[in-house]
Symmetry: C2
Subunit: 462 residues, 2 copies
């Protein structure tokens, strides 16, 4: 911390948010020092941190103004559910938690919700549901917060039909490093008034400004939905089915690719049972519709396509409880694998290249004699490859395996990250995979928004 | 033109694209000197212009490098179908027409199309249709070109269900002012690799870079669609129906608001007849569906909602021909009004505020004793207000009327432009309506991308 003593800074922060919302003792901020990044690749949090919890945009503004004047780094944090340590405070500074800012107002007339940054995904889903509306994206952990969902352009399952977070965010209130509050966008379906700073902020991982509030588009609630699990003999049959389903005119909410080992592990971890035990590869498809008739038509089309390819008997989850249960098992594969996990990748390729990517991952696994469990969002070309701890093996395979997977993804027309973002742990990979002129533009944009580099320094662009 | 004589520049351009693709005689470039902006507000094109028609990205790159070194302005043009003179060359320089770059490749496996900038909307729609796929946005004039559609983030009808251009563009190839070629995004449904320069380019109206190629997401073709025209006694009944339809779970492809005078005028202009002659306000609703059953369910829901509000008998257009015919009448209201038109506004407000905006427009019309015909994309809150020539009236009402409409739109939570963009004729309004800090960021971004201000100078940000 440069222009100010820690004591003076603490005093200033106390004067802004009140004594009880400024934490300086490390033992009371432990859970703020990491996100869900696997331990082996997680960077260590710095010493000399101050945790601050503002309750309003005005307080956020004052904190940033003070930090900017003092040249003190600020690390905005949400639910800390990320997988690339985007919110980890890696140098001394202020941890800015938005958790107290949780006002939420559903606007049924405009099919939108106005939510402060600290509203959790769980709260958002419940409030929409109670208002008879529906927020489709489901990036897994319902402890995620709105600010973080936008800062990371969260994806997850249920993105096939309606897209990722970017497609839902119509407006944001943000605070610049200077303390200046800006409103970008609004309760608007169309907005062409100048360059879209809104879309620049979405996915900027807390490095350009602090998101304090958002306007999010909703859909009317689909009363009718079904989850279908279809077993296939192998991955290529399963992926062929994905393509044929998408071309059939049915647009599922989600098409997930899973293999039995991982779903069974997750089910066991939750003390549940995965309903389909046959097939080396499985698709997990969520369909929704306005009416029972429409759902039936879609369901029959999907079954027809799959059976043409020689799929096994599909299993249907029809009640809300059953559907929630299988989605929970799917969402917990990560948690189940985590103890043995070194890193989870989210290389994303054109959907038609997903099979090639999976073949290449298998070859890489064989080449290095390691286990690389995969599952992914098959409708999006987004594959999660897990680099695991290997008993009795020197850890030098990790870097090699990851580097080969990244190179393969890029060769297939993909990107190093489709949903988890860059954070602290993929900055080198981003630099390597990105054209220098593009990087220069990104660095220039960072400098424009945050000339003193106080906002989440060391993340995304370094 | 600063660092080079016109002759030397012409010679250099000829060496890049060949003699027949460099035009210096004004009489052979007349149609490149304007777009569809109404004559009374259209800026005059400068003298001393050179029209160049490259055939490849490599040629675009060489042209920009030469222009940048010589500090010569470059005005990229597409189909010149815009309404705010975004492509009009207002100072001496190079008109860069992408019309020869019209390669087009449909990728059925990924439900995407790769199109060069000069591909027309008409060609794009036809190619997708032939491949059994569907590109939903329809911004009216099918002479628009892909580069322009992206540069202006085009909207139009059919945006209610799937959104505007931004939601479809997954990747672009662009040329920076320096001549450097960049590829942003890709055939990707998810991409979180750094700041989204892709989304910054979308809607930047040719001021940040020249778009040479794009990857555009498609949908499977909906074989089943219907257009419904519903008469209402007045605008508030019609707009109440819009809201109830959207909350009912039906998501129409388009919901347009029209009034009989304007559609009849357009129909007469086309030598056609508008099918509904009752109701002071009408909704024009396009529904599409995967199956006949689903379409029927949606159709019944829409009719039910409208009849609850006291709407008149809906008229259905079911064949492709009938539907095309009514859409053509709707799309030609502008052309029919044009001879008497001074300006067409596209103020956009939260959808629930559209009635308030229309009431205010009516009051403004009464206050100034003028006629302000309106129609608009009711599902998007996007209203087109037409400021008309008024026989025997001093023209000082124009500025006052426009300024009151803009102020009302902003007061209602809207923006000065939802779809037409800023171009050359709304820069003052953008400046007035935008926070200074936001403008500074936009100006900084412009400078980063185009330090010598050669790309479409005088547009968007001045």
């Amino acid at each position: 911390m440069t222009n100010v003593s820690k004591d003076a800074l603490v005093q200033e922060l106390v004067s802004i948010v009140g004594k009880e919302w400024v934490v300086t003792e490390r033992e009371y901020m432990l859970s703020y020092l990491q996100d869900e990044t696997p331990e082996p690749v997680r960077p260590k949090a710095a010493n000399n941190l101050i945790l601050v919890k503002p309750s309003s945009t005005g307080e956020v503004s004052k904190i940033l103004r003070a930090a900017n004047q003092a040249r003190v780094p600020v690390f905005p944090v949400g639910g800390r559910t990320g997988l690339v340590s985007a919110c980890v405070p890696t140098i001394p500074g202020i941890i800015l938690s938005l958790e107290r800012m949780k006002k939420l107002e559903v606007d049924r007339e405009n099919l939108m919700v106005v939510a402060e940054a600290g509203v959790t995904l769980g709260d958002l889903l419940r409030a929409c549901d109670e208002a008879g509306l529906f927020f489709p994206p489901h990036p897994g952990d319902e402890g995620a917060q709105v600010g973080g969902l936008i800062a990371t352009n969260a994806g997850g399952v249920r993105a096939v039909k309606y897209g990722v977070m970017r497609n839902y965010v119509k407006g944001v209130e943000v605070v610049l490093a200077s303390g200046k509050v800006l409103n970008l966008g609004g309760k608007l379906i169309k907005d062409n008034a100048g360059y879209s700073l809104l879309h620049l902020v979405i996915g900027s991982e807390g490095t350009l400004c602090v998101i304090t509030k958002a306007i999010i588009k909703l859909h009317p609630k689909s009363e009718h939905s079904v989850t279908i699990i279809v077993p296939f003999s192998g991955r290529h049959e399963a992926l062929q089915a994905v393509q044929k389903i998408l071309l059939s005119g049915v647009v599922p909410l989600a098409i997930e690719y899973v293999e039995p080992d991982e779903v069974n592990l997750s089910a066991a971890h939750l003390n549940e049972k995965w309903p389909v035990q046959v097939g080396g590869a499985q698709l997990f498809i969520i369909l929704n519709a306005e009416s029972e008739e429409e759902l039936l038509v879609s369901c029959e089309k999907v079954s027809g396509v799959c059976s043409e390819i020689g799929a096994g008997e599909p299993v249907l989850a029809e009640t809300r409880e059953e559907q929630d249960r299988v989605l929970r098992i799917r969402s917990n594969i990560y948690t189940a694998l985590k103890p043995q996990l070194i890193d989870i990748l989210d290389v994303t390729v054109p959907p038609s290249k997903l099979g090639d990517l999976m073949d290449a991952v298998e070859e890489i696994a064989e080449k290095y004699g390691v286990h690389l469990p995969v599952y992914g969002h098959a409708g999006d070309g987004n594959l999660h490859v897990h680099v695991m701890k290997e008993e009795g093996k020197a850890p030098d395979y990790v870097a090699k395996v990851k580097s080969e997977i990244y190179e393969t993804g890029i060769r297939l027309g993909g990107v190093i990250t489709g949903e988890h973002g860059v954070g602290a742990i993929r900055t080198q990979e981003l630099t390597k995979a990105t054209d220098e002129a593009e990087l220069n533009l990104m660095q220039g944009i960072k400098k424009l928004f945050d000339p003193n580099n106080i906002l989440n320094p060391g993340k995304v662009i370094t």
